[in-house]
């Protein structure tokens, strides 16, 4: 909690002008991230911010951190490589619901299993915006889009239940309906020592439905603290998470009161143990000597 005065939100804002549509929820998300980073106070050059492809995946470029706007669905593998190469870095990953739960959906479970100290922010808008309005993995059943003219035939993914089921140590939800709350939630997620997931209901003003806009979201939002939810109670969190899509619960669903060791931490321990008395790498061929 030190060094909070050294950096201000504007220090994390880059000169790049976002490509987002006016009114896009992602403008609020990037503001929330600036504020959270300022509160934490890590200098921008010690932050690696990775994304995939999609409207929201442009986000690293709008910060002054080291950014990596990679390929569709693969922010998490890249983030893990960064974290293992340099565990001192603050590593953030972000993307949309399609990037995280459709094309890249296979990676989350494994990052959760490994519990690397990475914060993953999904800007969930229930639509593919960049490709102009197709069905996404979190679109509700029956939704009509340009690829579901007669209505979607499949149930949406529930991102909250998904990550809770795999045992994520920190699971939260936020929304531009409460910017201060979002910034605080992101900050808490980053501070959590292990994998942290924040689902942000970020409205698509161009292809989103009426009910998914700020007004509609406000109407269904409920603050988890106000509800008296105990974030140490994983089963209660899963219970609440079942209402994804009908209600917008904001705040921390689950925070493991006893954070498990992180993969990156264990790697460091192993390195420390095995590098002691190791022969120099220049002599590695000695392993092949047969006497």
């Amino acid at each position: 909690m030190s060094a909070t005065c050294e950096y201000q939100a504007k220090d994390y804002k880059s000169d790049l002008k976002p490509i987002w549509c006016p009114g896009c929820g992602d403008f609020s998300v990037v503001q929330g991230i600036y504020r959270a980073l300022a509160a934490i106070g890590r200098p921008p050059h010690e932050i690696a911010f990775v994304s995939g492809i999609g409207c929201s995946s442009r986000i690293p470029g709008y910060t002054t951190a080291y950014g990596f706007n990679s390929v569709h669905g693969r922010s998490l593998p890249i983030a893990q490589g960064i974290k293992l190469a340099n565990p001192d870095l603050l590593v953030l990953a972000a993307g949309g619901d399609g990037d995280g739960f459709s094309i890249g959906g296979g990676h989350i479970a494994h990052l959760i299993r490994r519990n690397m100290d990475i914060t993953y922010i999904v800007m969930d808008n229930q639509i593919y915006g960049l490709t102009k309005g197709q069905l996404s993995p979190t679109s509700q059943k029956g939704r009509t889009t340009c690829t579901s003219r007669y209505g979607s035939l499949e149930e949406p993914v529930n991102p909250l239940l998904y990550v809770l089921a795999y045992g994520a140590g920190f699971v939260a939800q936020a929304s531009p309906t409460d910017l201060a709350g979002m910034a605080a939630t992101i900050e808490e997620a980053i501070r959590y020592p292990g994998f942290a997931f924040v689902n942000i209901q970020s409205p698509c003003v161009t292809y989103g439905e009426e009910a998914q806009q700020i007004k509609g979201l406000k109407a269904i939002s409920e603050n988890l603290t106000a509800l008296g939810h105990n974030p140490a109670d994983r089963l209660a969190a899963m219970d609440l998470a079942q209402h994804y899509g009908e209600k917008l619960h904001l705040g921390v669903f689950y925070r493991n009161p006893e954070p498990a060791p992180t993969y990156d931490g264990l790697v460091r321990e192993r390195q420390a143990l095995l590098s002691k008395d190791a022969p120099p790498a220049e002599n590695i061929l000695d392993l092949f000597i047969k006497k």
């Binding site: 002054t64 080291y66 950014g67 706007n69 693969r74 490589g81 340099n86 790498a281 061929l285 000597i289």
Partner: protein, 596 residues
């Protein structure tokens, strides 16, 4: 006295054939011989057919050898499954299990009369001496020691060491089985003695390893400290080596959830400033291609090892082939060059892997090491390598004024821009798969795209001048040429020696750099050439076509290509050279005739 012997042994999975091959190779190394051992299996997990070839020589070995001098069949059904991988000729001594109840005159080898055929009650001897048929392989080693003079002392020394923990009783049982084999051989001398001469280098230290382990060791030597990958035959041992050793050098391994995540993590590690690698085989190369495109446009150093096996798709997962050449050279969409290097032996896998890292780091690019199943899984004895001769290149990082208004993709004279990494103050930038201006900011400008494509391709021009990545042997002015790469190169090196011994004026080129195609170097090589062979294990003649795409090969240069798992023998190449030679002579005679 023989200078060189090629053994081929086959049996079922439980027969310990490969373990016998290992023992023989180690014993040979201990006695100062050069040795190469290749393994070949069916694709069953356990059991099934299994075979190995061990070539032992008093001089350095260029390839696993052609026809077998000694064939050992523990049963014929399994032996025959290996077909051309275990070729028997009129000069082969065939040793087989008498319990097969097949008469020496009736062995199921079609169209060939071996030099000598000997039925040995191998299983019976194992049972009688060691109390179990599991000692059959030790009996075989005894037979080999008796008949060919290899490993009389060293084999049992090795076995003793290997089984030391399992108790004296087991060691003694093996000793009895070995002695029985040896005694049998002494009592039944060969018609023509095939004893191998003693090695001049007896007592010198030798290394033994295979291509996969050598590749991983070279990577660690080159400074690689991150490996991301996914298990796939026949490349998995590269990852295994990393998991055994890289922690000692403060590195890490991620066995990822899939091939894409494996290379993705390696891309991330490289972005973070660490030398990184992934390894895979054909199907995995296909899956990794998008990430390879990303690393190319983001100009991130990365080494991708592709241990080729028969393709397409699952193909022949346990057999060697060279058919990933196109996939490696053109591995992802877009206008891009990704260097492809190929080792030709276990020994040069060390140098080529280091070279791959150096090129990756210098040019800021993914580099593919195109190994193959044979090199990857064959074991070689090696003389100690002087590692001080290898220079290690690290990526150029921004310093001083570079970091004032830092531009990650700055246009420079050599098209290579200093590269920062997270943690470096003043170096922040956006890496991306999207086209970008010099700062890294995204763009969709056609003129920037043109300029950046120029930068990303022209930077490789000096690589195409690297003559040290090409080996040319034989008479430089020869009118006849052979060209081969990868494991096939070793076969052609031996063929060259055989052809030269016959007085044929021929030369051989072995490219270690396959892509980008070094037009100038090839043009120079082909200047004197009227007839030639591009030898490769691909069905489509991929090397021949890749070369023709870039250079005008002389008309007389032909393709000698065949599918994987159909190995070339040095004699196949020499035979083809004879054909070329007579064509050449005919065309000369034609030219000498007065024209009407």
């Amino acid at each position: 006295m023989r200078k060189d012997l090629v053994f081929g042994m086959a049996g079922s999975g439980g027969d310990g054939i490969v373990s016998a091959g290992d023992s023989l190779l180690q014993a040979a190394a201990a006695e100062g011989y050069h040795g190469v051992m290749t393994k070949s299996f069916g694709s069953q997990i356990r059991g099934g057919e299994s075979s190995c070839r061990v070539r032992i020589s008093t001089t350095p070995i260029l390839n696993p050898g052609g026809n077998l001098d000694v064939a050992v069949a523990l049963n014929w059904e399994d032996f025959l499954k290996f077909g051309a991988e275990l070729p028997v000729s009129g000069n082969t001594v065939v040793i087989y299990e008498a319990a097969t109840k097949i008469l020496e005159a009736d062995i199921p080898l079609v169209g060939v009369t071996p030099l000598q055929v000997i039925a040995v009650p191998i299983a019976e001897m194992a049972k009688a001496t060691a109390g179990t048929e599991r000692a059959k392989n030790t009996v075989v080693l005894g037979l080999i020691a008796g008949w060919f003079g290899i490993g009389a002392v060293a084999v049992m020394k090795g076995i003793r060491k290997k089984l030391a923990k399992k108790g004296e009783e087991l060691v003694d049982a093996n000793q009895r089985a070995f002695d029985a084999g040896r005694a049998f051989a002494m009592e039944h001398p060969l018609k023509v003695s095939m004893n191998v001469a003693a090695s001049a280098t007896k007592g010198q230290v030798k290394l033994i390893t295979d291509g996969n382990d050598m590749c991983a060791a070279a990577a660690i030597f080159a400074g690689c400290r991150f490996f991301g990958g996914y298990p796939i035959t026949p490349s998995t041992e590269v990852m295994q080596f990393f998991t055994d050793h890289v922690w000692k050098y403060n590195g890490a391994v991620l066995q990822a959830e899939d091939e894409i995540a494996g290379i993705g993590a390696a891309v991330g590690a490289s972005f973070a400033g660490t030398k990184a690698m992934t390894a895979t085989s054909g199907p995995g190369l296909s899956l990794k291609s998008e990430m390879m495109g990303l690393a190319s446009i983001a100009e991130l150093p990365l080494v991708i090892v592709d241990v080729q096996r028969g393709g397409p798709s699952t193909g022949l997962p346990t057999k060697t082939e060279q058919s990933d050449l196109f996939a490696a050279a053109f591995s992802a969409h877009g206008d891009v060059i990704r260097p492809v290097l190929a080792p030709t032996s276990v020994a040069d896998t060390f140098r080529i892997t280091i070279e791959a890292f150096n090129i990756a780091e210098y040019y800021q690019t993914p580099v593919i090491v195109l190994s193959d199943q044979e090199i990857a899984s064959r074991k070689e004895t090696l003389d100690p390598i002087d590692t001080t001769q290898f220079k290690i290149i690290n990526r150029v990082v921004p310093t001083g004024t570079d970091l004032v208004d830092y531009k990650r993709f700055k246009q420079t004279d050599n098209h290579i821009s200093p590269i920062s990494h997270p943690g470096m103050l003043g170096g922040t930038y956006l890496a991306s798969g999207i086209e970008h201006v010099e700062s890294g900011a995204p763009t969709n400008s056609g003129s920037v795209h043109q300029r950046m494509n120029d930068k990303r391709t022209k930077k490789f021009d000096p690589l195409k001048e690297r003559k040290d990545l090409f080996e040319v042997t034989g008479n430089p002015d020869a009118p006849i040429a052979i060209l081969a790469w990868g494991s096939v190169a070793g076969v052609c090196r031996e063929a060259l020696e055989m052809a030269q011994a016959e007085g044929i004026n021929v030369k051989l080129m072995v490219p270690y750099l396959l892509y980008p195609v070094a037009e100038g170097i090839y043009n120079e090589f082909f200047q004197s050439v009227q007839k030639g062979l591009i030898v490769e294990q691909t069905h489509l003649a991929q090397t021949f076509k890749l070369l023709r795409m870039h250079i005008d090969l002389p008309k007389g240069v032909q393709s000698l290509a065949r599918s994987g798992a159909n190995p070339f023998l040095p004699t196949d190449i020499v035979e083809a050279l004879h054909r070329l030679l007579s064509e050449l002579q005919r065309s000369h005679e034609g030219q000498l005739q007065p024209q009407e």
